[in-house]
């Protein structure tokens, strides 16, 4: 996971997704990137940004951006609106005991603009 993040940070593009005020506080939005969908979360309480794939791996629904964020023992997580499967926003690992995981992306904010770091292998 660390390696993947580093790759993203080093070599690849930072994609300008939207402005800070476009994202609901303590909520998520869906960002279109080519034919892909990325869920972007603004954890205002912790002043943290996270990005993951928008598709929930459980039933392959494009829905994570509409889910609820929160924490489990301080670990930031996202709950899918369909069946409340939860995933770590940091590692992408499923916290509800399933084998699946989601892809995560680095996020940075500059001058009120939100950027998502996309690696070459990340996007199909």
């Amino acid at each position: 996971m660390t390696q993947q993040k580093e790759t993203a940070l080093e070599s690849d593009r930072w994609f300008a997704a939207c402005r800070v005020e476009d994202v609901a506080e303590n909520g998520g939005v869906c960002v279109k990137y080519g034919d892909s969908q990325i869920a972007l979360f603004y954890f205002t309480r912790r002043n943290e940004w996270y990005a993951t794939q928008n598709e929930c791996p459980h039933k392959k629904q494009m829905a994570l951006s509409r889910g609820m964020i929160g924490t489990k023992n301080e670990e930031p997580k996202i709950a899918c609106p369909f069946h409340k499967k939860t995933f770590s926003l940091v590692t992408g690992e499923c916290l509800s005991g399933d084998e699946c995981a989601i892809k995560t992306y680095p996020v940075k904010v500059e001058n009120g603009r939100v950027y998502i770091g996309i690696g070459q292998n990340d996007v199909s």
């Binding site: 506080e25 303590n26 869906c30 629904q61 829905a63 509409r66 889910g67 609820m68 929160g70």
Partner: protein
């Protein structure tokens, strides 16, 4: 001020204890007792034979008296009182001056005039000394008999069994056992039970003489028969010990009781009498609880004589003689007026001759109040019945339920401890209220019955209240979330009910405010919807207001139900299922325009499926122009009120069910609750609207409406139960207001009304008592609160489309607001479409 107490029995001791606790400056207390032992627990005397040693019965050790500056003289009874000089003369020759004299001389055993009572082997049953004598004599003999079939006599018979005398006889002069406490049937039942346990009981039997030379060998009865026995205990009642009072010229009654007024004062203003020697209103109170009350009255009176500012005055005005005890292992209790009878009284009796159970309650003719009763064989309900009787708590509609044994699948009936008022006296011996017991748990951290006993003294007298003390402790601990920790999630250490009260108290209106003030961490998908629901239930503000939008459950956040594939369904409100052709056409046109699949729902509405997130505001704009509003199909809120066509068209209809359904639906639309709420109104008992499967259902009768509550369809169907019958439309609304507010206030998150009721102690009868009889005194407040929620209602879809900030959230891509989710796939089905299957 010098106070002399004559007598060191239970009441005399209690007087000292209460007086010392008041810390009155400048008083000196001296106590003169006849017995060799400091005051002991006479009530549990027979436990002496079960192996409890004498110090275990002691109320306080001799060092207690010393530490509290009390000058205690044991084995030194006062022998004379000189009233003019205010002096007492004692057996050991002391002469002491008093300013205040308190007579607590108690009573002695009444010994009937029978020839031969002085013979060896004849005993009384009154003091520790008596017990020692009985114990050593019983070791040498085989048979034993007791004269007296009252409370103490039967205790004495039990003592004989404990001492190894296998078949003691009990002789009673009256036609039945315990004539002061029990009616004929109860006595008969008790007699049968005791006989089964090895006692031989002779009622209607007059003992005329005691046989034997120096030692007793048998009894001679007036009818000429006789009974062989090796020993005899006489326990034929008590006689107040008023000899001293008689000698010094105080007014006394026929048995020697010292006459007192409401402040326990005798005819000499410096002399008082308390306990079994005091004669108040021509009555001797032969129980410990009234004696303690007298002690309290007197202590307050003395305090107010000497200290400013005074305490609230206290007077003795008689005392409830309710009692509960175990006789040879059999429960026996009587309370209130056990014999109440006549025109204005309803007697309800339960009798099981096999199990040896007899229960009688006397209820006011209107069935509302409990006047008194008798319990034999099973007195588990004694405490609650006593409290219900004393506090005049309304009985459930079927008063017989309170004495019926709890059956499987049926929760404990009648009022639980929770319904008692704060000032309900739980321990009548020590005068401890429900509030003080609960407070000992909440404020002083008592979490065992022993700790509560120590802290409040509750249960240290007769001990009859201990089960109730325990219930209160468990209940209070539960309230604090201590015993059964029913907390929301890791972010909130409260149950939903506690959180609701706190949010209301602090007037918190956003999720973050609640989390900051009452929780910890950053929230999660469990507490966010629960808190949001609480906020909505309390304030009924637009749920998507900034700060609350992202804490709503997924469906609430977009005011629509998310369906397979990520599209939404749209359900406009169609109150009562009544709709005009024009509105039907609008729905048809909207569905056509946005490509929606349409279906009639189970709740008499029309559901449109397959709406893209970005289309929702446009769809709703068109619906709202046509006069529709949100149906809240996405919320934990009132859904629909289904109706049959009713008396306007139906030839069987009794009432206009459609009009009433519309009224009810429009009243409660948008009301958020712990879970969804469904309702229905049927125009007659044919029940075409299926009202009995709803959270609340209404069925027309000739006279008005029957209101049913807590039904459910779903996976565990449950019929609704009748809450009130033949009520008019206004009353019905009032009851629904109260019912819904009670549910919203107390249910756990995501608990439907059926489950909520199933968990409720006391079940439907308790619920009815709360809603119909207003047993919690909350009805008026709830009606006002409901009205303010009704007044605050607004269609949230209308508010959403009018607010650009909120409207902005209804698009799939933040960076391409006009594009729809390209992954959504539909397939044709019959003449419409369906969403592609899960992958």
């Amino acid at each position: 001020m010098r106070i002399i107490v004559v007598g060191n029995g239970m009441v005399g001791y209690k007087f000292c204890e209460k007086l010392v606790a008041k810390k009155i400056p400048g008083i000196q207390i001296s106590v003169f007792g006849e017995e060799q032992y400091p005051a002991y627990d006479r009530v549990h005397l027979s436990s002496f034979f079960e192996g409890k040693d004498i110090t275990g019965l002691e109320l306080a050790s001799p060092s207690w008296y010393r530490e509290n500056g009390i000058d205690l003289h044991l084995g030194d009874p006062v022998q004379a009182i000189n009233r003019s000089a205010k002096l007492v003369h004692t057996f050991k020759g002391f002469v002491k001056h008093y300013d205040i004299l308190v007579m607590a001389t108690g009573s002695s055993a009444f010994v009937p005039r029978i020839e031969g009572v002085e013979k060896e082997g004849v005993f009384l049953y009154r003091t520790i000394e008596d017990l020692y004598l009985i114990q050593s004599y019983a070791a040498k003999v085989k048979t034993g008999t007791v004269i007296g079939g009252g409370l103490l006599g039967l205790e004495a018979a039990k003592a004989l069994i404990d001492l190894g005398i296998s078949n003691p006889h009990v002789i009673e002069f009256a036609p039945r056992l315990m004539p002061r406490q029990l009616d004929e049937v109860a006595s008969e039942m008790l007699l049968t039970t005791l006989t089964g346990l090895g006692l031989t009981i002779h009622t209607n039997t007059n003992t005329s003489g005691i046989l034997g030379k120096n030692q007793i060998t048998g009894l001679q009865f007036a009818d000429g028969s006789s009974l062989q026995t090796d020993m005899l205990i006489i326990s034929a009642g008590i006689r107040p010990r008023g000899e001293l009072a008689v000698e010094c010229g105080l007014e006394t009654g026929m048995n020697g009781g010292v006459v007192v007024n409401n402040f326990m004062q005798t005819t000499d203003p410096s002399i008082y009498a308390i306990g079994e020697c005091a004669l108040y209103n021509e009555m001797i109170y032969g129980l410990v609880a009234p004696g303690y009350e007298m002690a309290e009255v007197l202590v307050t009176h003395l305090y107010n004589m000497m200290v400013k500012p005074p305490l609230p005055a206290r007077e003795f005005t008689g005392f409830d003689m309710s009692t509960r005890l175990k006789l040879v292992g059999t429960d026996v209790a009587s309370f209130g007026d056990p014999f109440a009878d006549g025109e204005n009284v309803r007697n309800i009796v339960l009798k099981d001759s096999v199990k040896g159970i007899y229960k009688r309650i006397n209820v006011s003719a209107d069935g509302k109040y409990l006047l008194g009763g008798i319990l034999i064989g099973d007195a588990t309900q004694y405490n609650l019945l006593l409290q219900t009787c004393k506090n005049k708590i309304l009985l459930p509609p079927h008063p017989e339920d309170v004495i019926l044994p709890a059956r499987e699948g049926k929760k404990e009936e009648g009022a639980g401890v929770t319904t008692l008022p704060d000032d309900a006296l739980i321990c009548s011996c020590e005068g401890v209220s429900k509030l003080s017991i609960c407070q000992s748990v909440t404020d002083k951290g008592c979490e065992t019955v022993d700790a509560i006993k120590k802290c409040t003294k509750a249960g240290t007298g007769c001990g009859g209240c201990l089960p109730m003390v325990k219930d209160l402790m468990v209940y209070t601990m539960k309230q604090q979330g201590k015993y059964i920790r029913n907390v929301l999630c890791e972010h909130f250490d409260y149950s939903r009910q506690e959180l609701l009260d706190l949010v209301k108290l602090h007037e918190l209106k956003t999720y973050d405010a609640v989390l900051n003030q009452l929780g910890k961490g950053d929230g999660c998908e469990v507490c966010k919807p629960a808190v949001s629901s609480i906020i909505a239930s309390l304030w009924n503000e637009m749920i998507l207001k900034k700060g609350n939008d992202t804490s709503q459950d997924s469906n609430d956040r977009f005011l629509a139900n998310i369906q397979k594939g990520g599209t939404y369904s749209v359900v406009p409100r169609i109150p009562g299922g009544e709709i005009t052709p024009e509105k039907l056409i609008t729905i048809g046109k909207v569905a056509q325009k946005y490509g929606l699949y349409t279906k009639i729902t189970g709740g008499q509405r029309i559901d449109m499926f397959g709406a893209h997130l970005g289309d929702l505001p446009f769809i709703w704009s068109e619906l709202i122009v046509a006069g529709f509003e949100s149906g809240h199909a996405y919320g934990k809120a009132l859904r629909t009120v289904k109706s049959c066509v009713g008396s306007t068209w139906c030839r069987f209809g009794l009432q206009d069910s459609v009009s009433y359904a519309i009224r009810v639906e429009e009243r409660y639309r948008g009301l958020r609750a712990p879970h969804k709420i469904k309702s229905a109104v049927s125009g007659c008992i044919r029940e075409c609207a299926e009202a009995q499967s709803k959270d609340f259902g209404i069925i027309a009768t000739e006279k008005g409406w029957n209101l049913y509550v807590c039904g459910n369809g779903g996976s565990k169907p449950q019929h609704a139960l009748l809450l009130a019958a033949d009520i008019d439309s206004e009353t019905c609304i009032k009851y629904i207001d109260r019912f819904l507010m009670f549910y919203i206030r107390t249910a756990d998150p995501l608990t439907r009304t059926a489950t909520w009721l199933n968990k409720m102690e006391g079940g439907i009868d308790y619920l009815r008592n709360v809603v119909v009889n207003d047993s919690l005194g909350m009805a008026a407040q709830w009606e006002v609160e409901m009205q303010s929620l009704v007044d605050a209602y607004q269609c949230e879809w209308k508010a959403a489309i009018e607010n650009p900030e909120i409207r902005k959230r209804f698009s799939h891509f933040v960076n391409a607001p006009d594009e729809k989710d390209p992954t959504v796939q539909f397939e044709p089905l019959r003449d419409q479409k369906k969403v592609a299957n899960w992958k």
